[in-house]
Chain length 353, copies 2
């Protein structure tokens, strides 16, 4: 039983878990060229903002080793070209651009190409390690909040395979397992793309965490019938007032938690906060293709040509969020203090975000 | 554009819509023998309590014509044998046993075999017509309640193809269409078996009603984003206090309706009430096989052997139900009067149930 990882750097080699094949096939693909890294990100073999950033960072460092020049300026030029190419693999992935940006800045001060190459790998490793530390810290805070609670529900996959290790919403279960604390996790399947059924169930099974799959429609009945004590989910973006955009279906769960009087937790790194937006109404909600809902793989479910509404995310109002668990500590959106004040007041554990 | 029917009796022939093939294939199968009717019910080609009862009634009447005796006692004996065989096709279907029981009683007074054969067909026709009238009446009452409302959400298929015609929860949309009143219906796909995506979407499209498909997980966001004004669903069983068992996912919707302050309606014939049960906690919830959730058709979604919780129904507490719409009128479970008192107080429209 081990916590599965999505990006592995070992013996100077980069391997990524092809998440499109899960759970039927567990395949780690070795990426040797910049083009392969670009393709892995573009084709969604790697998913989860932190995991994408980490894979791209290693990819850039890997490709840099192939540039056979001793001219540091020319080297920087090549790396910047590679960087632009990688960022274009998924233009909306903020974390990807951020990670690549860190690597590019890092070699601004390099004196030799040799040094630059080493520093790129160092920086990629740093980004990875920082993310693992942040997830671990989120897990610590979540474990405290979950205290005596055992039965917890989640949706989508805010897990180890979306990050360096541990994940965000799934971090307390992994960390708990390491410490002999057992949870009973209920994973919502997460229509339309089944990230819960395909990824979260697999990941927790791999780690030896007790997990039960339900359809999203069973959430209310399950909370009552199984005595669910808390719900914990990840986040895509959190605005200044605490409104949180996350995978479609999250808002359902928040309203159910409210109805049943159980806590509803968001687990997310500080980097998820977008304080430039005041409330969730400013967050644009991506609408995706009808086929994602009307068909499953090659299997048509609804009549061909059916009109479908397919929003990818929803926004949970802050008032339904008991707490936001970050690597720096726990933020309570309904406290008197603003979120911004709480963000800067909580004692840092030393992780850079 | 016509309202699709599930059981058709025409020119002394019985045809049923094979609902397992929907929406890809629209196939009406002519049933000529008792064995074929048994098989159609057993294999779930026909679904929906009223539709099953109607198909069985016609099936019994059809088979009776083949009994070539002139001895009325012997004829009754044969019919009773057939009746027992048909009832066994789906032992838990209360409506099936009830319909068959009506036919069997009907020939108690028949003087000749010829008369008996005619009366069986007459009774089957009567059961069918009464069900259509009841559904139509439910539609009338629902149209009144929905008044100015246009955007309505539903789950599963409490539709024309589950009844003689019109359905229960879908009756106002069909009846509205006949009268030029347009609705915008949002159909939840209804995991795990997709009755919403497969049946409701198809049925409403056939009838020319504007319908949009969403996953169950999109309900909360859709209520807000699209301005849903009411939710209307069917029922499997309603207890004396108004608690209502219906397809899994119904309770989710009831709690969301409550959170958004929009009405939540149950549409069901009076026969759905089980006044012998005081509250919903007495209703046993059937749990079904893990494969229904973990795989879709032949396509495996979750890892093989995944632990699944798969309740087929949930129970919505009466306090979340704005009104129960029956063929006799509208019952409000949260009024001072008991449901039983309301059931007998509402002016009957003459339908026998």
């Amino acid at each position: 039983m081990t916590i599965p990882l999505s990006v592995i750097w070992k013996d100077e080699q980069l391997a990524i878990l092809d998440q499109r094949l899960l759970p039927q096939t567990v395949h780690y693909e070795t990426l040797e060229t910049l083009e392969q890294v670009h393709e892995a990100i573009f084709q969604l073999k790697v998913r989860g903002a932190p995991a994408i950033g980490i894979a791209a960072a290693y990819g850039l460092a890997l490709a840099a080793r192939r540039h056979h020049t001793i001219d540091i300026d020319l080297f920087r030029h090549y790396v910047k070209q590679d960087a632009a190419y990688l960022v274009a693999s998924r233009p909306t992935a903020v974390n990807l651009a951020w990670a690549i940006g860190r690597l590019v800045s890092r070699i601004d001060q390099s004196r030799t190409v040799e040094q630059g190459k080493a520093q790129l790998i160092e920086e990629a490793q740093l980004i990875r390690d920082e993310d693992e530390a942040a997830c671990r810290s989120i897990g610590e805070h979540a474990l405290e909040l979950l205290a005596e609670k055992e039965k917890v529900m989640t949706i989508c996959n805010a897990g180890s395979i979306a990050t360096a290790k541990y994940g965000t919403a799934l971090a307390p279960f992994h960390l708990g397992k390491e410490r002999g604390r057992e949870f009973e996790v209920y994973a919502c399947e997460t229509r339309p793309l089944f990230q819960g059924a395909r990824l979260t169930v697999w990941e927790l099974q791999q780690a030896g965490v007790d997990v039960t799959l339900i359809t999203d429609s069973m959430a209310a009945h399950t909370i009552g019938a199984k005595g669910i004590e808390a719900i914990i989910v990840g986040a895509d973006r959190i605005t200044a007032n605490g409104d949180t955009a996350n995978k479609i279906g999250t808002l359902n769960l928040a309203l159910l938690a409210h109805a049943y009087g159980i806590p509803f937790y968001i687990a997310a790194p500080v980097s998820t906060f977008d304080l430039s937006l005041q409330t969730g109404s400013s967050i644009p909600i991506e609408e995706r293709a009808a086929e994602e809902v009307a068909a499953i793989g090659t299997q048509q479910i609804a009549p061909a040509g059916t009109k479908v509404f397919n929003p990818a995310f929803d926004v949970t109002p802050a008032k339904y969020i008991t707490a936001i668990i970050t690597e720096r500590g726990v933020i309570r959106p309904n406290d008197e203090q603003t979120i911004e004040a709480q963000l800067y007041a909580v004692p840092s554990k030393g992780e850079t975000i």
